[in-house]
């Protein structure tokens, strides 16, 4: 099976590979997939106090399409609000990368990773508020 030009481009030059400090209250971490399924993605978002995603990093175990999907969404989410990022759909990812039907699950995983990272951030924020309230 041939990869599309865009998949190859992201696969050969992945953007935003790396790790953010998951203990940072402004960082949300989404870890999705499983080794037995052949792909695992971790997407981390650094969210400013005004609710804008100012940085994103990913690391992925998976085929070229999985790596390209994570690289693409790491670019897309930057500068967006959490609501805007949460509305990125797997269809948009699949379309942008011209993924063949058997690789659609890679784009689904990328969408799941964004949602999981946002969820993690929100939980952290909520927990921080609770502990603040308890301290007062």
């Amino acid at each position: 099976m041939q990869y599309s030009e865009k998949v190859l481009e992201h696969f050969n030059n992945p953007r935003n590979v790396g790790t953010l400090d998951s203990a940072d209250p402004n960082v949300g971490t989404g870890l999705v997939g499983a080794p037995a399924c052949g792909d695992v993605m971790r997407l981390q978002l650094k969210i400013s106090n005004t609710g804008i995603i100012e940085d994103a990093r990913f690391k992925t175990f998976g085929c070229g399409s999985a790596i390209a999907s994570s690289s693409l969404v790491s670019e897309w989410v930057k500068g967006k609000t959490l609501e805007q990022a949460a509305s990125i759909s797997n269809k948009a990812v699949a379309q942008e990368l011209s993924l063949p039907p058997v690789k659609i699950h890679c784009s689904v995983l990328a969408e799941d990773a964004i949602k999981a990272a946002i969820e993690d951030f929100r939980q952290k924020q909520a927990a921080a508020k609770t502990s603040e309230a308890n301290h007062e």
């Binding site: 099976m1 990869y3 696969f11 992945p14 590979v17 790790t19 870890l31 999705v32 997939g33 499983a34 080794p35 037995a36 399924c37 052949g38 792909d39 695992v40 993605m41 971790r42 690391k59 992925t60 175990f61 998976g62 085929c63 070229g64 399409s65 999985a66 790596i67 058997v102 690789k103 699950h105 995983l109 799941d112 999981a116």
Partner: protein
Amino acid sequence: MDLTSPYLSSYEAAMPKARIYLDNHATTPVDERVLEAMLPYLKEKFGNASSASHAFGWEAEAAVEKARQQVAALIGAQPSEIVFTSGATESNNLALKGALDYYKTKGDHIVTLQTEHKAVLETCKWLERLRAERVEELKTLRLMQLLGRVVTEEEMPSLSQIHSLEEDSVLHLWTSTLRAGARVTYLPVEKNGRIRLDSFERALQPSTVVASISLANSEIGTLQPVNEIGALCRKHGVLFHVDAVQGAGKIPFDIEEASADLVSLSSHKLYGPKGIGALYVRKNPRIRLSPLLHGGGHERGMRSGTLNIPGIVGFGKACEIAKVEQTTEAQRLRALRERLWTGISSQLDFVSVNASMEHRLPGNLSVAFSFVEGDALMRELESIALSTGSACASGSLEPSYVLSALGLGEEVAHCSLRFGLGRFSTEAEVDEVIARVTKAVLRLREISILYEMAKQGVDLKNFQWGQH
């Protein structure tokens, strides 16, 4: 540089890196000496070996008989025991379907391994389906007999329960005398890829017609103890079919030592042309098979069809060369493989060899590069021809059933590459492959979340992964 071909420069521009072929289990290039032997039979010596009335036919027949000797000699057989086929798939089909049909009065049971080639496993599945369909028919007939009326397909499940067909003695009698298809035992293998002889012996039944075991596995190169297996088959009066497609001509194999009754061979796995193979069929004691192809009664009635003379001549020559060069070639390949594995394992952590290193085809190396997905790795190594157990490469989303059968976990299958060294592989190529593989794995591990987690000491096996 000497540009002997006008196309070379543009070809090189399109292919920036030299192509390296390390997929010799998939197929091998035709040896120059084999091609030379074949050429006359593609040109002036075009006769039909069945034309008994003129020199064109005699010439072709003589060539076939010479090739029959060359093929037979490779495995210690008599020329008259060789049946030429279109290749391994046909040989495996003929061995199993032919034996099951011919010996159906003896029984209907087959014993094989979960790691066998698809040509064996899918044939077994077809035979199982054939039997299951007949059993369903008998159930319907029995219900009609009991009810004295026609029974529709929709009524079958409920009526079978009401009339407890499972315990019906008449139906049991009918199915026990059923002469269609087969029942199949698919034995698991050990972690090293090998059969367990005690469980193999236990699997043999009075109704077992044939046991089908490969000499060498096409994916992990594991060699099975065929001589011991053959002895057990003899002891229990079971035909022994050896799928020797990957092993013949690479490692010593003799039909007498293995007590083999049926042996599948393929030409293109040993530097001969594609589209030609053979089935060895023992003559003493005489083994008989029902043919798959009916017609003019060629090949002792077991395989009708005009013989593929150039293919047969090439196959014969390939077997002759393999017989002479097998030992030195195996030594050379083992040294190359050692070089490959040492090169890789000295530069990378978290790499392991799948299945036994000791009982392995000389040119085979199956390596798990943990935390790197096989399909991505192959992309990175684009100009090196390799094969992966990863699901992503196959498009079926199922990882290799062979690697899964080793019980190593699916993640190992996703991370594995198969290196298949061959007659024309060189040290320089191996060194290039080591360098490129190492670089590729390092790059992909930099991206890999699993590698980061493993480095931090996370227990990936017991980690709570989400459902996906």
